[in-house]
């Protein structure tokens, strides 16, 4: 399907243009989500998209599904309520690096721990964009931010490792440069029965790139191209070659009992009168 048809089918009429800055990668990530949904031929009525607060979280309002723009960091509890109360719905969470790993960090690890069938698309632009460029838990150490004018001393999370450690059963990463990979891992993440997380690396030229002298939006995408390496190739690299690079693709996949299915067994046990 051409992008124009995709927009007509999955974006709400009259809601565009979006609020994102010129050069922002969020549109590419959002486009990848709807292309994945289109590939899977999901009914729009059967999809719920839940977001938190921040630049990326505005995506929910543009999309023609059952959508919630919740509170800062709280997308996952709301999404958990939707999924557990109505498991037939496909629930997708759209969130940012600050939203998911700072104010929403507790919800993030616990949703992963439960292995509830929710797909999280974490738009990682390494910064709080909506508020104008403050450092997040995914801002690389020593980066400049408006709240770190002399560079951050905070160590950053590797959110894929965090998710894996917390119990997520599908963990992937892609960038806005590697769009086919991004669409592919989102598609597989949605299909996966369990908690899936896709880290989508997206450029914020205005609030992150500018402070850190990363050049134009195109230069920031070139950085993604030069440093994102498919996992298979990445694993064959020496430690020296790995310096500054990061793996993309499906990084981890496991099978584990899914939360809503397990809860159905609780209901069955309770209804039999067993404890």
């Amino acid at each position: 399907m051409e992008m124009e048809q995709i927009v007509d089918k999955y974006f709400r009429a009259g809601r565009l243009p979006h609020i994102w800055c010129p050069g922002c990668g969020n549109g590419i990530v959002t486009g990848a989500i709807v292309k994945a949904i289109d590939k899977l031929a999901l009914e729009k009525d059967g999809v719920a998209v839940v977001s938190g607060i921040g630049c990326s979280s505005r995506a929910s309002g543009y999309l023609d599904f059952n959508t919630v723009h919740s509170a800062h960091g709280r997308a996952l509890p709301v999404a958990t309520g939707i999924k557990l109360s109505e498991p037939r719905l496909k629930v997708i969470v759209v969130t940012g690096d600050g939203d998911a790993t700072a104010i929403g960090g507790n919800h993030f690890i616990h949703a992963a721990r439960r292995n509830i069938d929710i797909t999280v698309i974490l738009y990682n632009n390494n910064i709080y964009g909506m508020t104008g460029g403050q450092y997040s838990p995914l801002t690389p150490t020593h980066s400049k931010a408006t709240t770190a004018p002399f560079g951050t001393v905070d160590r950053s999370f590797d959110v894929t490792e965090l998710a894996k450690g917390a119990g997520a059963t599908f963990v992937a990463r892609a960038t806005t440069y590697h769009t086919p990979t991004l669409i592919d891992v989102i598609t597989q993440g949605i299909q996966h029965e369990g908690f899936s997380i896709i880290e989508a690396i997206t450029a914020c030229p205005i609030s992150f790139g500018r402070q850190n002298k990363m050049g134009s939006a195109a230069n920031m995408m070139k950085w993604q191209k030069d440093n994102g390496v498919m996992l298979g190739a990445y694993e064959k690299m020496t430690d020296e070659q790995k310096e500054g690079k990061f793996p993309i693709g499906i990084l981890y996949k496991a099978t584990a009992p899914e939360y809503t299915a397990e809860y159905d067994k609780v209901i069955a046990r309770a209804q039999k009168g067993a404890k």
Partner: protein, 381 residues
């Protein structure tokens, strides 16, 4: 309807009321002295096909029920002071996004961890103003175990009818007190409060376009009505609208949908008030003391009665103003430093003296203490 007699805690009666009202989803976090609400529903909900989830924190406890409410379920969370503070963020979200839900707050001594197992009524103002920004709220306060059951059903009636969060404000006395309750043997005959569903097609549906009663019909997620929910000020479609006109319209309607229906929402009890010259105003666990004090004072020939607000918020303005016209003196008894009395004094506006009988040392006000207060006022008349 046939009944079975039980000896039951207030917290358990709340859980029974929730089941009777058709609740099918509970999310929460353990906290004294409210935990029995969660424990009861963890046991009872799966047996009727409902869902219970213990979340990672208090905020998630209300977040998860907002999600479940969006799929059309009747939902509950329960907490106490410290947790109630944490829930304020999403309580405001539920106000502006008009999500029906019931929050039980079993009050204990605060601030902070305070006295976790001891009673207080210190969250009265937090129930009214705890979340940020202007918003109306409905808060109901039961005065007995049977009333915990009835008012829980009432809370759902209001939350579904007015598309709003409702706070059930218990105190530790009522939450943990055990007394006789006659429960219906079956809840089938109890009228289940129902949410107003859209009658228009999905194409015509505007999620925040109100009917004449100012309440917009609410379509459950997954039924073909794809709508947008946001905590931002929004237009009739639910999409963000930053204009002053939209802001005013959004906030005006939120208030009007409650304030236009005070006759329906404001519940109260008058006890021995017909010829009263002194009135005691008391609520929740403190009202239990007040009945005894009023009875004892009556035996001594003092013309005293009790006015018991059952709906704490919206404030029973008309009723308190009427009290000020009837009696010569008003005594407000509450287990805090004096919270509700501020609102009472505002309504009375100096027409009659208002005396505060406050106790906040983690013990209930005793009938003897309140009797002395009544006698002292009586001697001044």
């Amino acid at each position: 309807m046939s009944y079975k007699t039980k000896l039951m805690q207030g917290n358990q009666a709340v859980a029974e009321g929730a089941i009777a009202a058709g609740v099918s989803f509970f999310g929460g976090y353990p906290i004294t002295p409210s935990t029995e609400v969660a424990e009861s529903l963890a046991r009872e909900l799966p047996a009727i096909g409902g869902k219970f989830i213990q979340m990672e924190d208090e905020i998630a406890g209300i977040g998860v029920i907002i999600g479940a409410a969006l799929t059309g379920k009747k939902v509950m969370t329960a907490t106490s002071g410290p947790g109630f503070s944490l829930k304020q963020e999403l309580l405001g979200y539920a106000c502006i996004a008009e999500i029906p839900l019931v929050i039980v707050n079993v009050q204990r001594v605060g601030p902070s961890t305070g006295q976790p197992t001891a009673p207080a009524q210190g969250d009265v103002m937090q129930a009214r103003w705890g979340t940020h920004g202007d918003h109306p709220i409905i808060a109901l306060t039961p005065g007995s175990v049977p009333e915990c059951f009835d008012l829980t059903i009432k809370a759902y009636e209001f939350s579904e009818k007015y598309r709003t969060p409702v706070i059930l404000l218990l105190d530790e006395i009522i939450g943990h007190m055990r007394e006789r309750i006659d429960l219906p043997t079956s809840y089938d005959q109890i009228v289940k409060p129902q949410r107003k569903l859209p009658v228009v097609s999905p194409e015509e549906y505007r999620a925040y376009k109100p009917d004449a009663d100012l309440i917009p019909p609410m379509a459950p997620f997954g039924t073909g009505y794809r709508w947008h929910v946001t905590g931002l000020v929004h237009d009739e479609y639910g999409f963000p609208d930053g204009t002053p006109a939209a802001t005013q319209a959004c906030l005006d309607r939120l208030h009007a949908k409650i304030n236009n229906n005070l006759e329906d929402i404001v519940l109260y009890e008058n006890y021995l008030m017909e010829d009263a010259e002194i009135a005691v105003l008391a609520y929740g666990g403190t009202a239990r003391t007040a009945y005894a004090s009023v009875d004892a004072a009556r035996e001594k020939g003092i013309k005293v009665g009790l006015f018991r607000p059952i709906t704490m918020w919206p404030f029973p303005e008309k009723q308190v103003k009427a009290l000020a016209s009837q009696v010569k003196h008003l005594i407000v008894a509450e287990m805090n430093f004096g919270q509700y009395v501020i609102e009472v004094e505002r309504a009375v506006a100096g027409k009659i003296p208002v005396t505060l009988h406050a106790k906040y040392n983690s013990e209930a006000i005793t009938p003897a203490e309140l009797l002395i207060a009544i006698e002292n006022i009586s001697k001044q008349q």
